[in-house]
Symmetry: C2
Subunit: 380 residues, 2 copies
C-alpha cells in the first residue's frame, strides 16, 4: 500500500530576492509572475568568455520591488541589472547587454568581477511559458530558441520559438526555425544567414530539474534532502517503516511516500535521469529496495554502508535470483559518496550529494586542480 504524505514543494510563491536560488526556484518564480500577470524581466546569460562565473543558460528573474531571484554573475551587477530591467519594462522590448567585467590587471585597477558576459534581458511574457513549464509538463525536455541579435527586419531581439508545437513561442519564420538544431546537450549559439540579413540565435535544452529519490526515513535523511534541494534537485523521500516518512519530518522534500519495499516501483516511477540513494540502515529493506530499483532504468544507485555489507546484499539478491552484472555495477555506488573523510550527519550528506552531482554531470569528483577538462561545459 502506498501512501503519499503529500507534496511539500514550498517554492511556488517565494518571490523574495534570492541570489542563491537554484534553477528550479527561478523557474517557479517566473511561472508565478506569469500566472499572476505581474511585470518582470528575465535575464539570461547567452554567451561568456572563459572566466565568467555563470555559464550560458543561467537565469535571473527581476521584478520591480521584489529583488532578483537567481544569478547571472558572481553578484557584482545587481544594481545595473535592476536599472536595466526597469528600462526593459518601460520599453517593453528585449535587449542584449554586454557586460565587460574583465579584470584590468595591466593597470592594477582590478575592478573586474567576472569576464565578458552577454545577458539577454526580456520582458517576461507568454512566449516564455514553454521555457518555464513545470517538471511534469516538461517530460523529457524541449528545445527553446531566442533571437539575441538581428539585422533582419522580420525579426526582433527576443523573438522566441520552441519545439513543443504550441503557440506560446512560435515567432520564427520557417527558414530560421529550420536552422535550430534538433537537439543540444545544454546550450549553443547559431548564426543564420536569412534572405533579409543575419540573425544570431541562442538555443537551449530545457529540462526538468533532476530528481533524487532517498530511500530511508531516519534522521540522517534530512541533511541529504537539505543539500540536494540546495543543489537544485527535486527530492522524493521514501520510507518503509510506518509513520516515519511524513512531510512534517522531511519538510524540504518535494514528495514524501510511505510504502512497502515490494511496492517501491509502484510508488516511484524511476527514470534513467533519476538518482536513488538507499539509506534505510535496515538490511532487509535495503535488500528489497535494491532489487526493486535495479529492475528500473534509474541512472545512479548509491548504497550506504561499508563494502562488506554491499557484498552481503549482493549475495542475498543472488539467492533471490537477482544477479548484479557488470552493467549494474557501473551504476551502483557502494559505499555511497565521495571520499571526504567526515562522519557527522552533514559531512556524510555532503559526501553523498557531491557524488550524486558529479555522476549526474559526468564528472569524477577528484580535485579540479588535477583535471585537464574545463570546469564547466561551454557552448558547443
Amino acid at each position: 500500500m502506498t501512501d503519499d504524505s503529500g507534496t511539500t514543494a514550498d517554492d511556488s510563491d517565494d518571490r523574495t530576492a534570492d541570489w542563491t536560488a537554484p534553477a528550479r526556484e527561478v523557474r517557479a518564480t517566473a511561472r508565478g509572475h506569469l500566472d499572476s500577470d505581474e511585470p518582470a524581466v528575465l535575464a539570461t546569460v547567452v554567451a561568456v568568455d572563459g572566466r565568467a562565473y555563470r555559464r550560458p543558460g543561467a537565469k535571473m528573474v527581476v521584478a520591480p520591488g521584489s529583488g532578483g531571484v537567481g544569478s547571472v554573475t558572481a553578484g557584482c551587477l545587481t544594481d545595473s541589472l535592476a536599472r536595466l530591467a526597469g528600462d526593459v519594462l518601460a520599453d517593453d522590448a528585449a535587449r542584449l547587454e554586454r557586460f565587460d567585467l574583465r579584470e584590468d590587471d595591466a593597470w592594477g585597477l582590478g575592478v573586474g568581477c567576472d569576464g565578458l558576459v552577454d545577458v539577454l534581458l526580456e520582458p517576461l511574457g507568454e512566449s516564455h511559458r514553454p521555457v518555464f513549464a513545470s517538471a511534469d509538463e516538461l517530460d523529457g525536455g524541449r528545445i527553446a530558441a531566442v533571437v539575441v541579435e538581428s539585422d533582419d527586419e522580420r525579426l526582433d531581439v527576443g523573438e522566441r520559438w520552441t519545439d513543443d508545437g504550441g503557440d506560446a513561442a512560435d515567432d520564427l519564420p520557417p527558414d530560421v526555425a529550420a536552422a535550430v538544431p534538433e537537439d543540444v546537450d545544454r546550450t549553443t549559439t547559431v548564426r543564420v544567414e536569412t534572405g533579409g540579413g543575419s540573425v544570431r540565435l541562442f538555443v537551449e535544452r530545457v529540462t526538468p530539474p533532476p530528481r533524487l529519490v532517498v530511500v530511508g526515513s531516519n534522521a540522517d535523511v534530512r541533511p541529504v534532502v537539505d543539500l540536494a534541494r540546495s543543489a537544485g534537485f527535486r527530492v522524493t523521500v521514501v520510507g518503509f517503516r510506518g509513520g516515519r516518512a511524513t512531510a512534517e519530518r522531511f519538510p524540504r522534500a518535494d514528495r514524501v511516500v510511505s510504502t512497502s519495499p515490494r511496492d517501491l516501483r509502484d510508488a516511484v516511477d524511476f527514470e534513467s535521469s533519476d538518482s536513488a540513494v538507499l539509506m534505510t540502515h535496515n538490511f532487509v529493506d535495503d535488500r528489497l529496495a535494491l532489487g526493486e530499483v535495479l529492475a528500473t532504468p534509474v541512472g545512479y544507485v548509491g548504497v550506504m554502508g561499508p563494502p562488506d555489507r554491499f557484498e552481503r546484499l549482493r549475495d542475498a539478491l543472488a539467492s533471490d535470483g537477482i544477479e548484479i552484472g557488470e552493467g549494474d555495477r557501473e551504476r551502483i555506488y557502494a559505499p555511497v559518496g565521495l571520499d571526504l573523510g567526515g562522519g557527522s550527519p552533514y559531512q556524510v550528506a555532503q559526501s553523498v550529494v557531491a557524488e550524486v552531482l558529479a555522476v549526474r554531470n559526468g564528472r569524477d569528483g577528484g580535485h579540479l586542480r588535477s583535471s585537464s577538462e574545463p570546469i564547466h561545459s561551454r557552448d558547443e
Copy 2:
C-alpha cells in the same frame, strides 16, 4: 585598518533538539548547560564495530525536556537514550551501555540500525569543562581520558583526566594517568592493569573546530559559509571592498572582517590547521591576498577561477618577488574545488566545501566505491 564587524556565532544558546548539529554546536550546548548549572547527560561513542554510523568520539548532549543535540547513531536510539539519560541523572552515576543494533538478516528480521555501539553516558559536570572549552581556550588541543570499564575499586566509570594541568578533570591515580598516551590522532582505547584490577580508558584528542577563512564579499560567499558551517567549520569572512563585509550580509559567519589586502595577516592569524579560499573575483585583491597567505603556515589555499587565471596570478606574484615553489603548489588548489560539474552558487559552494573537507581529512575526494581505505579512520 582592520575593522571587525563583530562576531555572529549564534550557537551558544541554541539548546533545542538537533540531531544534525555539528560537533561545535554540541560543545556549545554542553558549555551552556555547565554555565547555567542545568542537568544534562553527555553520551559519547567509545567503541564501535565496523558498521556503525558514527565513530568513536561522537557526542550527544541530552537534557530533560530539551531533546538531544548531536548524534551517536543514525537516529534509531533516540527514545532509548532519553530514557537512559533520565536514569543516569537519577543515579548521578556514569554508565557504559552497549547497543547491539546489528542487522539480523539471518532471520530476515532486519531490525538492525547500525552495528555494535558502546556509548558512555555521564552526568554533565565540572570534570567536562576541559573537554568543552571554547576554541580560544583549546589552543592546539588537549588529551582527555575517561574510565569506561573498571574492576579496580579506586576507579569508577566516568572518572576523568585531561592534560591541561587544571583541577577540573584530574581523577586518575598517577599510575593510571601515566598510561594515557601523550598524543593520539583522534581516539584510542587503553587497557591498564593496575594494582587493584584492570581499567579500560577511552582517550580522545580534543581540538577546536577547524576554521575556514573565506576571502571575498560577493553574494557567492554566502553558500560557502552556509555549507562550511553545516560541515562543522568555524568561518571567518574577510572583505576588502568597503562596506560589503558585514555581519548582516553574512549572518552565518562566526567572524566578519573588513580590511585591506596588505593587512590581511594582521587581521587574521593563519595557522596550519586553517583553510583559506580566495574568491574576491578581483585580480588585484586575489593577487595581494595570495601573497599574504603564502607567507603564513595556512594549510590549504583554494583559489577560484580557471587555471590560466592562476598562472597570471603566479606571474604577477613573481614580478613582486614572490616565488611559488613546489611546497606551496602542494597546498594551493587552483581551480578550487572538486570536479562536480555544477555551476549554480550552491553547486559551486558544494564543490569548494567538499574539497576543503577532503583535504583537511587527508582524503582525495574520489568515489568511495573505488577506495580501498576504510570510510572512517577508526580507533588506533
